[in-house]
Symmetry: C2
Subunit: 439 residues, 2 copies
């Protein structure tokens, strides 16, 4: 993979080489498949929590997070504790968090769909009623990837949707609490926080226990146990997408400072070793310049080891022939984050069929969107932007169809329904419709 790699080890690909498709496919290949051992362990945890509730949750938590809790009370954080965390933050952090929350809220207000109805000529009314979920569960990872921004991004859309109860779970391995995460929960209007993680937390949310209220939908990223558990309870409750590693595709026309582009790639790569950062340009000189910036800047970064691992395993600088090829690569990858670091990004929009979030122009660093621009940072990964959307208010609402037939409408529709029902040999359907014909 790293034929032309420098010390950062980032691969150089070119669309004109014979093995381009093969190399790109290899680079993108990712399957977060849980093996049978993980599956079996998760099944065990799910069924024990379903059968024994709190007791099973406490046992699993003590075991996996190395705690010695004796009651669920010890695994519950009160609203007062969350507020204390918020008030205890340095002013600068508290204000930044509040500013981000306000912008996220404002953006998501634009996503609220309205209920609608229309009346036909014969008086029949059709429509759709939109209602919030009663309860949402938010999984927040603990340990090294505990991100307060994720609390805001998951809880605020639920709040804007009108969800009446938001339940958050966050593991505290070895008892370590993240004050910023708690502060974010306070700010985002989370109603309950339990210090649980793993499959046991998913089970508690999906089935409910004596202490943990059963929710209607579980959102938020987690490790392979969490992902496997979410897949298993899907149907009992709703779930969001099962997240893979985070990724960015940057398209550059040469007008952006190569240091900026290198840092944008780093900001993706620093998440973890599996994260993916790819740069595409039709100008070989741009790739050379960014590669030079990468080499020069990498040693200055705190998370350089993670970044180096990520760039050498999954990163790439791709040379394409022209803008059309860049568009084809965008739609082939369906990136979670797409940065259009070009002169007129709006011109590109109609051609971008698949992307989680599109960062347009030289000033729109992905990092701005990760924290505070307003749009959600929970985005479809690993090409799932082909069929799924950023987390949004719509994830915390559902719709009911509305049908109210006038007597005239029922008579007209009854004729059609009767013929089709008989065509399907469903004669009780037919007769139910036919009753409404006789007046």
């Amino acid at each position: 993979m790293n034929a032309t790699a420098g010390t950062a080890g980032i691969a150089r690909l070119a669309t004109q080489t014979a093995d381009f498709d093969q190399r790109l496919n290899a680079l993108l290949d990712w399957e977060g498949v849980s093996d049978h051992a993980v599956q079996a362990r998760v099944d065990d945890i799910l069924s024990s929590v379903k059968a024994r509730g709190d007791a099973a949750v406490i046992e699993a938590t003590n075991r996996f997070d190395r705690l010695s809790a004796t009651s669920m009370q010890e695994l519950t954080l009160t609203p007062a504790r969350l507020e204390q965390a918020f008030n205890g933050l340095p002013d600068e952090q508290r204000e930044a968090l509040a500013a981000a929350a306000e912008r996220i809220r404002r953006y998501h207000e634009h996503q609220k769909p309205a209920s609608w109805q229309y009346t036909e000529a014969d008086g029949t009314v059709l429509g759709q009623q939109v209602a919030p979920l009663d309860r949402a569960g938010i999984y927040v990872p603990g340990g090294k990837a505990a991100y307060p921004s994720s609390v805001l991004m998951n809880a605020i859309p639920a709040h804007v949707a009108g969800v009446s109860e938001i339940v958050m779970v966050v593991p505290t391995p070895d008892g370590v609490l993240n004050e910023l995460v708690l502060a974010a929960a306070h700010l985002a209007g989370v109603d309950h926080v339990f210090t649980l993680g793993g499959a046991q937390a998913v089970a508690a949310l999906a089935y409910g226990t004596e202490t943990v209220p059963r929710v209607d939908k579980i959102v938020g990223p987690g490790n392979i146990y969490v992902a496997t558990a979410k897949r298993a309870v899907f149907g009992q409750v709703g779930i969001d997408m099962i997240a893979g590693p985070s990724e960015i595709l940057v398209v550059a026309d040469g007008g952006t400072d190569p240091d900026w582009l290198a840092m944008d790639l780093f900001s993706q790569a620093e998440h973890d070793e599996d994260a993916q950062a790819i740069l595409v340009s039709w100008d070989e000189a741009v790739l050379d310049a960014v590669e030079a910036s990468i080499e020069r800047l990498l040693p200055t970064l705190e998370r350089r080891d993670i970044i180096r691992a990520s760039l050498s395993a999954r990163g790439a600088l791709i040379h394409c022939e022209n803008e059309q090829e860049a568009v084809a690569i965008i739609n082939r990858i369906a990136p979670e984050h797409l940065e259009l670091s070009v002169a007129d990004p709006q011109r590109w929009l109609p051609d971008v069929r698949h992307a989680g979030a599109i960062f347009m122009g030289r000033y729109t660093a992905e990092a701005l969107g990760d924290y505070c621009a307003g749009p959600n940072h929970v985005l479809p990964t690993s090409g799932t932007a082909r069929f799924s959307s950023p987390l949004g208010v719509y994830d915390f609402q559902k719709r009911s169809s509305l049908i109210q037939c006038s007597p005239e409408g029922a008579a007209a529709l009854g004729e059609v329904a009767s013929i089709l029902a008989r065509g399907e040999s469903l004669t009780a359907h037919a007769r139910s419709a036919e009753y409404r014909l006789k007046r």
Copy 2:
């Protein structure tokens, strides 16, 4: 369960009895769980189709549908064949199908969300771009439950969404084709039809084969093998809800002919033995009258054996104290179909938090909605209306967030992002934002 049951064997429950909650829970209990044997067989089929494509699909199809195909060509229906099926229908059926398709299309046009953008004071643009999926896969069951109406209900929303390619699979056990199903596929704008079913069809759609194009989302109901396969490929492709047995909850105030109500319950129960039909009233006389109608009408029905089995195993007539209790039962059950056979159903709407489709008033038989009123008949079952919606245009579209920061916007946001990123120890994020501060 059938303490007070007549020959139809439908249970009578009353909210005022001590064991009401327990009896209702037992009645509603449904878990379409696939056991380990099913899981293992499905896993085998999925991995063989993934590895060997068409050859594995043909083998599985020959085996499970008792065919002897030697090529995928024999398992492919041409557009000409679909058109021939449509033209070959009796006039009455062809016209009824076309009328239903037209109404379904018109209703779903109301569901199209638009892309939106807004510009902030400092010139920063935020928004969301809505785009259709490239390819949708529609699973249509074969055999006894082959419903042309389901073809319309699954394919038309995809068409309205702007999906460019709609791929349909329908098994033909023993080679039996349903002409109405093919005609509906023609009418609904299906692009490809393959006569495949089971886990092998799901695998072909999810992974693609030499012949079957890989789709972005798979929708449509199926048996336990299909449901298990859909759950397994979720993430590779999108899927709709995993459907349980169909159900209706009818609320009656006494103003509707009891024969009509009995037939509405029958129309649900005739689907299959697991289907569920429940009637609720605060007027004991209404329950008595409907029970009498059930007893009198049941013997006249073609599908009386299925109906009797369904009503005695899963049906109920529930006496509640008042409208408030009826509302509580609605929200407890979160029914797939809710029939409000009452004087002023619109008055009830604000209190109905969970229901797939709401049929309002005495003239709105569920059967009208099943075929031709316009709203979709693919609805959340088994209480999943708590968190999911009728199949709709929105299921065949996805969104991309749009962010375009002005230099001033990037400077303001960069301050906030930098503080929060450093709080998360993501310093490359911080530096990427900080670059946009310097001008």
